[in-house]
């Protein structure tokens, strides 16, 4: 067992605040960013929960919910061997007339519903799809019903003056802005009234996943006014747009940085006080001619183990708090976020150790001779 670990274990009361500070930092970074990712993953639900490989859109579309009309004739660009299916996808905001009074802005999403259709979100069952084939039929998230002023399936209301009927509800598809209203392509067209022969997106399915980059590249060459993105990339683009546009990302990011700073200060103080407490022992080693690098290694080793212990404590905490968080919100913890949270806190712990090394300048063996 290394001397650093021995010291850490036998003086655990001294090192505990530092370990806790590291755990707190890791926890704060992971959960803040996880919440943020969860929050903004809502904005890409139409992409993530549907089945298209490529989304073709107007080049100025920053996010899936901010689509702009494009000619449906662009589908002709997609006549290539790698493409097996193309379908239009209508989407746009409209005012929902609440039966209880007042208006609510909602996002109408209309897609093909037949077998093999790419547009419908996975939560729409075969039964939903069959019902949605009726003109004016819509499905909403059951958690949004209060907001939309409806009480049950079967209720009627109007969107932009067009009568609609709620034929079913889904779960887990609440939106960040206006509630999602899922319907058929025809119903969406009748509500949104786009210019003739226009659609909002063209959804593309490729022969195989490997063909996606080829098709995207080829489409870009065909027409510069066209934007073609792999579904995953468009999802990231949509989240990123809302993350930066709303500044919420900055606020949460700052909170995470603040947490990191608190963690760094406490860790530094802990390591510093531990180093100061052993200055005389270090001085003896210096008097005996033990090279300085070993003492430096001991202090840096301590900061490493403090960092590792803090991270070890934080992992189950992050997991449990994420589970709790998922009850009322959505916490996403992709592997890269774990890696980032762990590396950042570890780096901060190590830097705190390096800062604490400054106290070693005071190690002068001659001070031991009184």
């Amino acid at each position: 067992m290394s001397y650093a670990i021995s010291t850490l274990w036998h003086e655990r009361a001294r090192f505990f605040p530092g370990v806790l500070a590291v755990a707190f930092s890791a926890l704060l970074i992971a959960l803040q960013c996880g919440l943020l990712l969860g929050l903004f993953s809502i904005t890409s639900i139409p992409i993530d929960e549907s089945d298209a490989d490529i989304w073709v859109a107007h080049p100025e579309v920053p996010s899936v919910d901010l689509g702009r009309p494009i000619p449906e004739a662009w589908a002709s660009y997609l006549a290539m061997p790698e493409v097996v299916r193309v379908e239009p996808y209508m989407e746009g905001f409209g005012y929902w007339d609440k039966p209880t009074g007042g208006m609510e802005l909602c996002l109408v999403i209309g897609s093909r519903l037949g077998p093999g259709a790419m547009g419908p979100v996975r939560q729409l069952t075969a039964e939903h799809r069959a019902l949605l084939a009726q003109p004016g039929a819509i499905v909403v998230d059951e958690a949004e019903m209060g907001r939309l002023g409806i009480s049950k399936v079967g209720d009627y209301t109007e969107i932009v003056g067009k009568q609609v009927r709620v034929v079913g509800t889904v779960r887990g598809l609440r939106s960040l802005a206006g509630p999602y209203v899922f319907c058929s392509l025809e119903t969406a067209r009748s509500i949104l009234r786009p210019p003739p022969d226009q659609t909002t997106f063209l959804l593309v399915r490729c022969r195989s996943k490997e063909d996606i980059p080829t098709v995207v590249e080829r489409l870009k060459k065909y027409d510069r006014k066209l934007m073609a993105m792999a579904a995953e990339d468009f999802s990231v683009r949509s989240r990123w747009h809302w993350l930066t546009k709303t500044k919420a990302g900055i606020a949460l990011g700052l909170a995470a940085i603040l947490g990191l700073m608190v963690g760094a200060v406490v860790t530094y103080q802990t390591l510093r006080s531990a180093t100061v407490a052993s200055l005389k022992e270090y001085a003896v080693l210096r008097a005996l001619g033990i090279p300085r690098r070993h003492v430096i290694g001991l202090v840096v080793g301590q900061s490493f183990w403090v960092g590792l212990a803090g991270i070890a404590i934080s992992i189950p905490l992050i997991h449990s708090l994420a589970i709790v968080g998922n009850i009322g919100a959505k916490v996403l913890l992709p592997w890269w976020l774990w890696t980032a949270a762990i590396s950042i806190t570890m780096t901060v712990a190590m830097l705190s150790g390096l800062l604490a090394l400054r106290t070693l300048r005071h190690v002068e063996p001659v001070t031991l001779l009184r």
């Binding site: 010291t7 274990w9 022992e281 001085a283 080693l285 001619g289 001779l369």
Partner: protein, 253 residues
């Protein structure tokens, strides 16, 4: 084996040592033109009243404190002409230190305190360092205390661990500053015996700063420092003060 210092060359020679602290009216002269010669196998005592400059002389002779003037030749190498790094290497190779406080790492066991010096100072493997540390602990009468931490050791035991730490790399010089100050005489005597054995059995050059006169009978040579001026006292006071036990111990002389 007993080293008879008078028949060998001195391992440490110093002359013209001056050292002062402060400036103007606050200036105090800790060493005034001090010269000394120390021989291998001799246990030398440096005595004097508080503030007489004993610790300063020890620091200058051991390469820890730069004198204002004068030279220190240890193994014929000029300590104060060396670079800091060379001095460190010299101390690593040749010097052991025992200070007033035990200065042991509170979290490490007695064995680890010794192992650390061998592993970090001499680059010994963990197993070799452990073997030597255990050997040293048993020489010090601490064979069963290797796994104990300073908190679990008595003052005398702690000081013996500190001595072990100083002796484990077989230094040719051992400098000790009031090594018995915090101990009662029973334990203090054990410490003195250990130091004397290190000189007589291993041939180390040992200089001990002390003000406890009870150590005098055990010393080969006694120096007095008063107001920065060094004078040598009685050589081999053993002959005058030794009790029958000591005489028996030195029957081979």
């Amino acid at each position: 084996m007993y080293y008879d210092g008078s028949r060998t060359e001195p391992t440490l020679r110093a002359w013209g040592l001056c050292k002062s602290f402060g400036t103007g009216e606050m200036r105090t002269e800790a060493l005034r033109d001090v010269g000394i010669e120390l021989y291998p196998g001799q246990f030398s005592l440096l005595m004097g009243p508080s503030g007489s400059g004993k610790s300063t002389l020890l620091a200058v002779l051991s390469g820890l404190l730069h004198p204002d003037s004068g030279r220190v030749l240890a193994h014929d190498q000029d300590l104060w002409a060396m670079t800091e790094r060379q001095r460190e290497e010299f101390r690593l190779r040749h010097c052991g230190f025992i200070f007033q406080g035990y200065n042991l790492f509170p979290a490490l066991t007695a064995r680890q305190q010794l192992e650390m010096v061998l592993r970090w100072g001499k680059g010994y493997s963990a197993s070799e360092a452990r073997r030597r540390a255990d050997q040293m602990l048993s020489t010090l009468g601490l064979a069963k205390k290797g796994d104990l931490r300073p908190m679990q050791l008595s003052g005398g035991e702690k000081q013996r661990v500190a001595i072990g730490r100083a002796l484990i790399k077989d230094p040719t010089f051992l400098f000790a500053d009031e090594p018995t100050a915090a101990l009662d005489w029973k334990h203090g005597e054990q410490v003195v015996e250990l130091l004397r054995a290190a000189a007589h059995d291993a041939g180390a050059t040992i200089l001990v700063v002390a003000h406890d006169a009870r150590m005098v009978p055990y010393a080969d040579r006694v120096f007095h420092l008063d107001d920065g001026v060094l004078a040598e006292g009685v050589e081999r006071p053993m002959a005058m003060f030794a009790d029958s036990r000591d005489v028996a111990a030195f029957g081979a002389i």
